[in-house]
């Protein structure tokens, strides 16, 4: 019984989280500052008599040889700015009425001229965008996620609306997992119908994902591309084992964008982009070099993305596409969702923090588009992005100078 009460409290805490994290941080001004000024003269007098006998003797003689400075020696600092020969492509997702679609707005990602958040060189041209996951059938969800989306799990239209209305999603990703032959084997026609219904229900730009079967996905994508003519959907995903020509042509013909997905290997990423360039302009390709969860290969994912971005900036034309991350993969880490001993905290907090840390790590590698799940993780990432986009000059040294004596 006590356990279930605790769970309830944990859940309340988690629910309370999203909207308030930063509102509360904005009250930062209230922190009291301790007076830390001191009388330098007094201290010198106090120190000089060598109140402490023993260690004083071990002062290295080296020190004595030099004349000790009595004032601060003024030095300069010039930010270490570099220029890069390459630039990341800009890709527009979602088409508005004027643009041939029905979306309420479009988003643009990419366009970077510097590594992620090297704001001393260049501002971020377009803030990264977060797309919330919506599934077309019931799938196993972690408890921490289910409590937010459980009620709409069978209904992609209701799910999409919840994501947009309640959780303020800028984009949604409709995963057509039911098209998998081993799940429901939904036909391409039925799948396309679901896409149409969701497009009518919400007006944000959309990603449409398949089931990962290269043959089936091709058929589904051809159907979806046609019914969503001109909407500038991001078709997720095009892989090396697909009929690339047919897939790319369907995407190009109906005015969509391709998500080029490869395993964690830069040569594969280059190869796939190269092949797509035959059919699609740079402005219609986003790449995904695979996201592994924190603790389960995030280091590889991070480094491949960081290398891809640096190489693109250094002029590698085959790695100059904006990067997308399936950040929901963070939930593949068992530490995100299993019950651990009490000292590891409630999974209702541990889980979304796992997703948050996975996302923030990749944000710093250069990811432009995040596909995510948990509202608290989404909210945190969104707020961090907006703080970073607002730029430097807002840190207030007078408020934190004294973390040393901060009373908690």
């Amino acid at each position: 019984m006590a356990d279930s009460k605790k769970n309830e409290r944990d859940r309340d805490v988690a629910l309370k989280f999203d909207p308030k994290i930063f509102d509360l941080l904005s009250k930062f001004e209230e922190v009291e500052l301790e007076d830390v000024d001191m009388e330098l003269g007094d201290l010198e007098i106090w120190i000089q008599p060598g109140a402490v006998a023993g260690p004083r003797a071990v002062v290295p003689t080296v020190v004595a040889r030099k004349a000790k400075p009595t004032e601060i020696i003024q030095m300069d600092f010039v930010p270490p700015v570099e220029t890069y020969p390459g630039r990341i492509a800009e890709v527009k997702l979602g088409a508005t009425k004027g643009d041939g679609g029905t979306r309420g707005k479009s988003v643009v990602i990419g366009g970077e001229k510097s590594p992620a958040y090297y704001l001393f060189e260049n501002p971020t041209p377009h803030p990264p965008v977060i797309s919330l996951d919506v599934f077309d059938t019931r799938i196993p969800l972690a408890k921490a996620v289910k409590m937010h989306f459980g009620e709409v799990a069978e209904d992609p239209v209701a799910w999409a609306k919840l994501a947009v209305d309640k959780f303020k999603a800028d984009m949604i990703t409709l995963h057509l997992v039911s098209t998998d032959r081993l799940i429901k084997d939904t036909t391409p026609k039925e799948a396309a119908k679901t896409v149409e219904n969701v497009l009518q229900a919400v007006d944000v730009p959309m990603v449409v994902g398949g089931c990962g079967d290269p043959q089936k996905d091709l058929k589904v994508f051809e159907e979806v591309a046609a019914v969503a003519e001109g909407e500038r959907l991001l078709i997720s995903t095009v892989t090396l084992d697909m009929d690339i020509e047919r897939t790319a042509k369907a995407i190009q013909k109906h005015g969509h964008v391709a998500l080029a997905f490869t395993s964690m290997d830069l040569n594969q990423a280059r190869e796939l982009n190269r092949r797509l360039f035959e059919f699609l302009p740079k402005e219609r390709i986003v790449m995904d070099t695979t996201t592994a969860a924190l603790g389960y290969g995030l280091d590889y994912a991070f480094t491949i993305m960081e290398r891809a971005r640096l190489a693109g900036l250094m002029g590698d034309p085959e790695l100059q596409q904006p990067i997308s991350s399936g950040t929901t993969n963070a939930w593949a880490a068992r530490e995100a969702w299993i019950k651990l001993a009490p000292e590891w905290g409630p999974r209702e907090l541990r889980g979304p923090m796992w997703e948050t840390v996975t996302a923030l790590t990749l944000l710093l590698a250069g990811v432009d588009l995040f596909m995510m799940m948990h509202p608290a993780a989404v909210k945190t990432l969104k707020d961090v992005i907006s703080e970073l986009t607002a730029g430097t000059g807002r840190g207030r040294p007078e408020l934190i100078g004294d973390w040393v004596t901060l009373k908690i």
Partner: protein
């Protein structure tokens, strides 16, 4: 062009030839390498220490070459030792800005704070939690590393008593935190020879802090919030003063200043690694504890903010972090991240290949197969253990690659599986001849069957399904 080019920006790219020219070039093999060129290559890759070349140290004719070599090979970020004895922690010593250029060394040390105004009970409880923190991840123990004793009272006597209590109850290295040199001195007096890290010298107190740092032979943190010009000036001044082991605190700012925080950390590291700036070539301290400066309606909100700020600083170059939360959900993702970021990207993480037994297997127990990629192996092992299964697991040598990549890259082949069946002597352990292979290696099944004459069963694609699979199929 490739990302390799980036490492050349403004940096002296070290070639093995540069190093070789300064070595004795006698191919004496005392370092354990075949010749001086091989040794030079390992030195440049930071795989061996220069001191293994004993002639260089002992023979007069190399007296000039040694310091030159040391200058070539010394890391752009100085290595600083905090604490003494077994629990001493090394921080900094970074060789590169990006981990793919080589590898990061000296994982970010995480310090948990206590104050001189905490009740004895709370203080001891926090020490116990900090020192007792332990989580086993891919066979390694994840731990916390330091205790930061903060003086919130600004009272030397209270601080002295607290430092005394902490050092007699904890083994981890200490950071002594106060901007008042009188308070720091009081703490240092009761922690002699333990080399705590002093926090911090500022533009107001630097001279006294420098004296203390020299007097007690302790590393010193230099604090100049959001002011890198002042930070460089203070470092220059302190170096001239004779203090050698410094740690940089450019300030960690809560959300509205997060851009400043990241930009400062990034510029400092680039200045050190790419521009050879010795004044900024020191470890950096991050203080996610500032998340607690905000008055939140629930402490979980402070914890949440502290947790994610810590993670960004681990990725962006922090060598030490001071944190207040002791909650597992705050710390666990961060120590995982640290472990990930600090693995050597040159080496796939691998475990020993061979035969493992789980539970109490007998001659009728199932025999399964996996690869020796550590993440794969420990995931499979943990699924088997948590289900309490009795079975054998053949760990094939795939040079540390996962199942799908090793099948694709021909690191896992029917030949080496057949070989593994023989060398592990599993045929002596079981009477049946049935091998369960991972679902992702399904296409090898026919060939394995031919080569080994074992019957091959294709198991699940994810090891979490093993218990279910066995209960249905075995």
């Amino acid at each position: 062009m490739s990302e390799r080019e980036v490492s050349k920006i403004g940096a002296k790219e070290l070639s093995p030839i540069d190093v070789y020219m300064l070595l004795p070039r006698t191919n004496c093999k005392k370092c354990g390498q075949e010749n001086c060129m091989a040794f030079a290559t390992k030195l440049v890759n930071r795989e061996l220490a220069l001191e293994l070349c004993t002639p260089l140290l002992e023979e007069k004719q190399y007296a000039k070459a040694y310091p030159k070599l040391w200058g070539l090979l010394k890391p752009p970020v100085k290595e600083v030792t905090v604490g003494a004895g077994d629990s001493a922690v090394k921080i900094g010593g970074k060789l590169v800005m990006y981990r793919h250029e080589l590898a990061y060394i000296n994982p970010t040390a995480v310090a948990i704070d206590v104050t001189d105004e905490m009740s004895e009970r709370e203080l001891l409880d926090r020490l116990r939690k900090t020192e007792g923190f332990s989580y086993i991840y891919i066979g390694r123990e994840l731990k916390l590393n330091m205790i930061a004793v903060r003086s919130t009272s600004n009272d030397p006597d209270k601080f002295k008593a607290t430092v005394k209590k902490v050092s007699s109850n904890a083994k981890l290295p200490l950071m002594l935190c106060s901007l008042n040199p009188e308070v720091i001195e009081a703490g240092l007096m009761v922690a002699p020879k333990t080399r705590p890290l002093i926090c911090a010298a500022t533009e107001n107190n630097w001279k006294d802090m420098a004296e203390l740092s020299l007097m007690y032979n302790c590393p010193l943190t230099v604090s100049a919030p959001n002011n890198l010009k002042m930070l460089r000036s203070l470092v220059k001044t302190l170096l001239e003063y004779g203090v050698k082991d410094l740690v940089l605190d450019p300030g960690t700012f809560p959300p509205e200043g997060i851009a400043d925080t990241l930009v400062n950390f990034t510029m400092i590291r680039r200045m050190a690694c790419k521009r050879g700036d010795e004044l900024l070539g020191f470890p950096i301290i991050g203080t996610p504890i500032v998340a607690w400066a905000q008055k939140a309606e629930a402490p979980e909100i402070n914890m949440w903010n502290e947790a994610y700020m810590a993670s960004m600083l681990i990725t962006r170059y922090a060598d030490i972090l001071i944190m207040h939360s002791t909650e597992g959900w705050v710390l666990l993702p961060n120590v995982f991240l640290r472990e990930n970021i600090y693995t050597d990207p040159r080496k796939p993480v691998a475990v020993e290949p061979g035969l493992r037994e789980f539970g109490k297997p007998d001659e009728a127990s199932p025999v399964m197969l996996t690869t020796n990629f550590a993440l794969t192996y420990y995931t499979v092992a943990s699924d088997i253990e948590s289900a309490g299964l009795n079975c054998y697991l053949i760990v094939a040598d795939t040079e540390g690659h996962a199942v799908d990549t090793s099948v694709a890259g021909r690191k896992l082949t029917a030949e080496n599986i057949a070989e593994a069946i023989k060398t592990t002597l599993v045929e002596k352990k079981v009477k049946h001849r049935k091998l369960i292979i991972p679902g992702k290696a399904a296409r090898l099944s026919g060939e394995i069957q031919e080569l080994s004459s074992w019957e091959v069963l294709v198991g699940p694609r994810d090891s979490s399904e093993i218990p279910k699979y066995l209960s249905e199929k075995w």
